[in-house]
């Protein structure tokens, strides 16, 4: 096999998984850089950006001072890149591809070529998104939600955003089909559905969300493209006034249609971001508490219910569109119902810790930090899910704080945990514990430094879309000084990632070599060699029991791999 076939256009699920993961990590850092630029503008509005300000060009930051338009581009693209090009490729594409076939004892994904195509669709989509910054008028600037009619009349960057999204959606659709077929068809002998590791369940439900929720956004994207390119008025109402003039279009469209179709995807998308993270955390907690997960079955049922309900709550993002009390009541009820399975999941993970003698290694630290961080994110979501308090909090920094607690110290911590946990499987070497802890503790502190003050600002009523952080608004006077603290925390957070980057590359070359099963884990991926060869397993896999048989009484070892029968 030549170099290109083996490492670039590979059809091996492990190589594709690593491609996804590396791409995802690169885009995460890219989105993070956009955010750091924004944080300068928020902390020191109107002051020239140090060091790189002069490189940005006169159309973006004349004299190094950021224009509001450019701030909007950064905001829209930060959201898009983080969600669709950072977390999803890493959590679903990366971990899903690498771990899922190994955990079910399969030789590869069901459709290896399709797998390769879905990665390259993602790649093309990413290139289009990044390239759009260099178009005249810059990248998309109507927020990651691309609300119409604003997005309909935005500069060319929005068209690029839509084309990019169509590639990303195609990638996710092909990927999710592949995951579902693989999970159903390629499970090893004896691996029934209730013997699947929780991670596989989480990916399985996630794939269904992607499969059924993404097409409506694709349809919405097509409609918006028609609006922008063919002059239709799907989202343009009659008599729309732009810059003081009535727009010459046929009219009759509905801006609310875009919001409905967008949130029909984007709410399930939240669960696409969080469920794989939950899966990773569950694996690591079971492994490092040396106990079975508490309430495995109720967790599985919860994740299924969660997936199902996530399709009928989307309009809680639209309480202030004036949709009337009947619909508001309906959607706030479904939203409150949906918090029940979320709480069950989190409670099961917490209770799993009870009475355990916990191994505090780096993956476990990240997994443990996930629990309270996700808890904060979830609980602060409750006031937003109720239509009355949402009127005050909608579109303020409170919302930003809420969902960042879920995705940043929540999901991203879980993803770091996953990287530290499965790194030995992918490379045959372990990552440094010292550098790992040097990565973890500052990250935890700075994350909270960035996001906790957002709740305070939100309560004070600071809007999330102000290019100057609120300095021109008198009511925001008391809370704007917090911006500096948040910005310095963000830059500190960037520094805190250096140990991770050093650790990642150093351990790849000179980490401590490990055997097949360095964590003494029970799930099937640890029965393959590290790194696994093409085709994965060197022995036939027959599963004889559930996924978390830790500390089984009467056994010699404190772990019983899924394919090894218990000693009598």
């Amino acid at each position: 096999m030549g170099f290109w076939r083996k490492y670039v256009f590979s059809i091996d699920h492990k190589v594709i998984g690593i491609q996804y993961a590396v791409t995802g990590l690169l885009f995460l850092s890219c989105g993070f850089c956009l955010m750091m630029l924004m944080r300068w503008q928020l902390a020191y509005p109107g002051q020239p950006i140090p060091f790189i300000g002069s490189w940005l060009g006169d159309t973006r930051a004349p004299g190094g001072i950021m224009l509001p338009d450019f701030y909007n581009q950064l905001g829209a693209m930060h959201g898009t890149i983080m969600v669709f090009l950072g977390v999803v490729p890493l959590a679903v594409g990366g971990f899903g591809n690498f771990v899922l076939p190994l955990q079910i004892g399969a030789v590869d994904m069901a459709f290896p070529k399709l797998n390769m195509i879905s990665y390259w669709c993602l790649f093309v989509g990413g290139v289009i998104m990044l390239g759009s910054f260099f178009l005249p008028g810059g990248a998309a600037q109507s927020g990651w939600t691309s609300y119409a009619p604003l997005a309909d009349i935005a500069p060319t960057g929005q068209t690029a955003w839509l084309f990019g999204m169509i590639f990303l959606i195609t990638s996710s659709l092909l990927g999710s089909m592949n995951f579902i077929v693989t999970t159903i068809q390629l499970r090893a002998k004896g691996l029934t559905f209730f013997r699947l590791p929780f991670f596989v369940w989480a990916q399985f439900v996630t794939s269904f969300l992607l499969l059924l929720a993404f097409p409506p956004l694709e349809a919405a994207g097509v409609l918006q493209l028609m609006d922008r390119l063919a002059g239709t008025s799907f989202f343009l109402p009659t008599g729309l006034v732009v810059s003081g003039e009535i727009l010459q279009v046929s009219g009759g469209g509905s801006p609310l249609l875009w919001q409905h179709l967008f949130w029909f995807l984007a709410h399930p998308e939240v669960y696409v971001l969080i469920l794989p993270a939950m899966g990773i955390v569950a694996e690591i907690i079971a492994n490092n508490t040396r106990k079975p997960l508490w309430g495995y079955r109720s967790m599985v049922y919860s994740v299924i219910v969660l997936g199902f309900l996530s399709f009928v709550v989307w309009a809680h993002h639209m309480f202030i569109t004036g949709m009337g009390t009947v619909m508001s009541s309906f959607f706030q009820t479904t939203t409150m119902i949906m918090s029940i399975p979320s709480v069950i999941l989190l409670s099961c993970l917490f209770i799993s810790l009870y009475g355990a003698s916990i191994r505090f290694n780096t993956p476990m630290l990240f997994a443990l930090a996930f629990l309270p961080m996700f808890g904060i994110g979830g609980l602060t979501g409750l006031p937003l899910g109720l239509s009355a308090p949402d009127i005050a909090l909608h579109d303020t920094y409170y919302v930003i704080g809420h969902f960042h607690y879920i995705v940043a110290p929540g999901t991203i911590f879980a993803l770091f945990a996953g990287i530290y946990y499965w790194f030995p499987k992918a490379t045959g070497r372990r990552m440094s514990e010292f550098l790992g802890k040097l990565h973890f503790w500052p990250s935890l502190i700075f994350m909270n430094g960035v996001f906790m003050p957002m709740f305070i600002q939100g309560f004070a009523g600071v809007s999330r879309r102000l290019a100057d952080g609120g300095v021109t608004y008198s009511f925001a006077g008391n809370v704007t000084p917090l911006n500096r603290m948040m910005s310095w925390s963000a830059w500190g957070l960037a520094l805190a990632q250096l140990p991770f980057i050093i650790n990642f590359f150093m351990s790849m070359r000179s980490g401590v070599k490990v055997g097949n099963n360095p964590w003494h884990a029970t799930t099937l991926e640890w029965q393959a060699p590290s790194p696994p060869p093409h085709g994965n397993f060197t022995q036939d896999i027959v599963v004889s029991h559930g996924p978390y048989e830790y500390s089984v009484p009467g056994q010699k070892e404190d772990f019983l791999p899924q394919n090894q029968p218990a000693e009598a």
């Binding site: 030789v107 590869d108 069901a110 459709f111 290896p112 659709l173 999710s176 089909m177 592949n178 579902i180 077929v181 159903i184 068809q185 390629l186 499969l211 059924l212 929720a213 993404f214 097409p215 409506p216 694709e218 349809a219 919405a220 097509v222 409609l223 028609m226 063919a230 002059g231 239709t232 008025s233 799907f234 279009v249 046929s250 009219g251 009759g252 469209g253 509905s254 249609l257 409905h260 179709l261 029909f264 093409h534 085709g535």
Partner: protein
């Protein structure tokens, strides 16, 4: 290394991988067209007036196209039945007939579109025409995609047939599922756009 259940069904699910895969794909297609139909209803209910499709569009041509697509569905299913009987030449004939009927459909559509443009009716003219062009255009892309795949299996099928006839049969069945779905979408598009 060989991936299991490509040809033979897995015992507990009774399915091969491709069959499950194509149905999942069709499920996502249902959601795609579902969203577009929702957009149609919203435009129609929200608009002050809505024209009767027949007053703008050409019903006889669309009726012809409906019959053409239905016929292409039966030739497609006959191609699969011929493979089940291991009759390759009949299979190839039916496949080419299906592609030919697809071409007829596209030609009729070409004249329909041309006529509209000639009359100065564009997607930007009205919301009705906007949704008409979007829905039929997207449907047309599906027809073209289906034709590409059918042509591929008609031309490259012989070596697959020699190597593993059952595999080719399965793949043609899955292609057929997609083709029938495209037909099924048109069955709804025709009354919704032209007759209501």
């Amino acid at each position: 290394m060989e991936i299991p259940y490509i040809v033979e069904p897995r015992q507990d699910t009774g399915l091969n991988n491709g069959k499950l895969g194509i149905w999942l794909f069709l499920a996502s297609e249902v959601m795609l067209f579902g969203a577009l139909f929702a957009a149609y209803i919203m435009m129609r209910v929200g608009g002050p007036t809505w024209p009767l499709g027949a007053s703008i569009l050409n019903v006889p041509m669309a009726t012809l196209n409906t019959l053409v697509l239905i016929t292409s569905s039966i030739t497609m299913v006959m191609a699969w039945a011929s493979l089940m009987r291991r009759n390759y030449s009949a299979y190839q004939l039916y496949m080419f007939a299906t592609v030919g009927l697809g071409l007829v459909f596209l030609t009729v559509k070409y004249f329909e579109y041309g006529h509209k443009f000639h009359d100065g009716l564009y997607p930007s003219t009205s919301t009705f025409l906007a949704i008409y062009f979007t829905l039929t255009g997207l449907h047309m892309l599906h027809v073209i995609a289906g034709m590409v795949v059918i042509t591929y299996f008609a031309l490259a099928g012989r070596s697959m047939f020699r190597k593993n006839p059952q595999w080719l049969t399965n793949r043609v069945e899955n292609t057929g599922l997609f083709w029938h779905f495209v037909d099924l979408v048109w069955i709804f598009l025709f009354p919704v756009l032209y007759l209501m």
